[in-house]
Amino acid sequence: MADVVLKNVRKSFGRARVIHGVDLDVKDGEFLVFVGPSGCGKSTLLRLIAGLEDITSGDLFIGGQRVNDLAPAKRGIAMVFQSYALYPHMSVYDNMAFGLELAKSSKAQIDAKVREAARMLQIENLLDRKPRQLSGGQRQRVAIGRAIVRDPKVFLFDEPLSNLDAALRVQTRIEIAKLHTDTRATMIYVTHDQVEAMTLADRIVVLNAGRIEQVGTPLELYHRPANLFVAGFLGSPQMNFITCVVSHVGSDGVQVQLPNAGMITVPVSSDGVRVGETVTLGIRPDHVKVSAQGTLTGRIELVEELGENHLLYVDFGKDRHLTIREPGDARHGIGQEVSLSLAPESCHLFKDSGEALPLIAPTGTPMARSPSPATSAA
């Protein structure tokens, strides 16, 4: 059992408060991903779990045991650093064996473990090389190998793929996913990359300025962001936000008045918002469609062709912009007036405080937008 539980964990460096009370429950065998903007405290949180930093207040449990005061080596964790942190003067073999060379394991045991890990990561032919004779991807694999041989209950990864090129990143990502399936170990993974987060995670934790904004499965976060921050952070291009005014609150949803345009009824419960209040409507670029009879009209400012799809940047007055993603090649040119329709069931409404308005009772919602609250595959 290697669940990781954080209870109101805080961390300050001197007077600078970095982590403001994090509660988190990572299940045994779960793949958890931390995402968040630079400087939000992802690495710090990971280092707190690893024991490389002291926890200022709060409790950390690994496998049911309180480990606040336990040395990193005793926590049953292994960490893969962004910079690889390989010993430059040691061969690949020694890099992996060094941590094992304690009195307990015999030479033969160590050898077997190292060779097994090397086979798994396909670096058997590199065992005699020094790190400087390896490519970035190979170094990263050695770093992962060093973690594997320790047989940890919990793997910690701090942006392990950020120094690799795109192709290698995809390949190594798949290898890490495979490693998770093979070992069934708990994994906590920090990344900047949304694709990594979406593809690897059982659950994603979105952090912002030392606080958790939302925890959930990738699709939960994507389809039902709990607040403006999460909505804006996940998805690329970013979700469109339009400030508008509530014009009617009914049992079928909240009706808002779009600026310079028509009304739209979003099927969410009002959660206390009243007519006349200002809310933010959010809609992803994929859910805005160019159509003959739209709610909005605007002028195309820019067209970006990406091959499989294209992006339209539309200005609909007073410096208000919308991004639209449509499949295939663009059928419109710059300067052209277009009419846009927003799918109401794909719209999100956020209160002034940034909080999202909840969906109306699940019975009334289309299935596509409400993934079952899938938990970990464990």
């Binding site: 990193p72 960490m79 942190a85 010993y87 003067h89 941590g99 060093r146």
Partner: protein, 325 residues
Amino acid sequence: MIMSGATIQASAPARETVRGGRSSLTRSRIRAAWIFIAPTLIVLALIAGWPLARTIWFSFTDANLNSLNDYEFIGLENYIANYDGEWLGLLTDTDWWRSVWNTVWFTAISVSIEAVLGTIVALILNASFPGRGIMRAVILIPWAIPTVVSAKMWNWMLHDQFGVINDMLLRLGLIAAPITWTANPDTALWTVVMVDVWKTTPFMALLILAALQMLPGDIYEAAKVDGVHPVRVFFRVTLPLIKPALIVAVIFRALDALRVFDLIYVLTANSRDTMSMSVFARQQLVDFQEVGLGSAASTLIFLIIALLIVITMAAGRVRLGGETR
């Protein structure tokens, strides 16, 4: 390079390629390099090459300080000569060999102690603690004091009657009678070593500290997560990584120590028990006015130091300015 070589081959006459197969670009680069280093070479030839050559030349003559212009070439007689079946010359002089032994002993012991102490001090200074900046400055004070001054200072502290060291040891009851530190043959060379260690450990520590600060911090965190004992980390990670810098520092210091003069001369004057090669050469040259013999001693010093450096570098398998990590 291959590209430009091929172009030249195609367009220029054959002799262009015969001359070492270098392109004109490479040749003009080499010429520029010579032009840039020429001033240095000329200055070095004037201030180092010329005196060295003159010293070597004098070592083959019977020159005397009284009449420097009036000398004769006598071949190797300053080094070794046979007068009526009796071997004479520097190579048979027990005082000379004793000074060689003293110097080598002094170098080996003091540089070893300095390397170990310097590493320890550097490790301490590399840790973060309040007041580290001040400590780094304070520790350099012994190094900043001119050798003659610190040697004189120690001379007084070590004085057998008025010295503070004897006084302290007496009060503590560690010794029964004052020790004549610099005159007693048993303690004289050790005393010199002690003062040298006091003076140059900071220099060693600073060089090693510079190397320590170049080490990546993440590998220490990796070792921490792996639960490797700090002592093991030091011997298996830190030491191998600072080894190149350490060897350079040791070679520097050894070079320095092999030509030690001022410290020994001030502390113990011309005492035979502590006489170093340089003190011996000075004595021949100035006190005995034997320019020929003194030059022969100086030439031997040059050869001995060169030989020891070659051995050290071969042993440490370092090529200065060579292999990089």
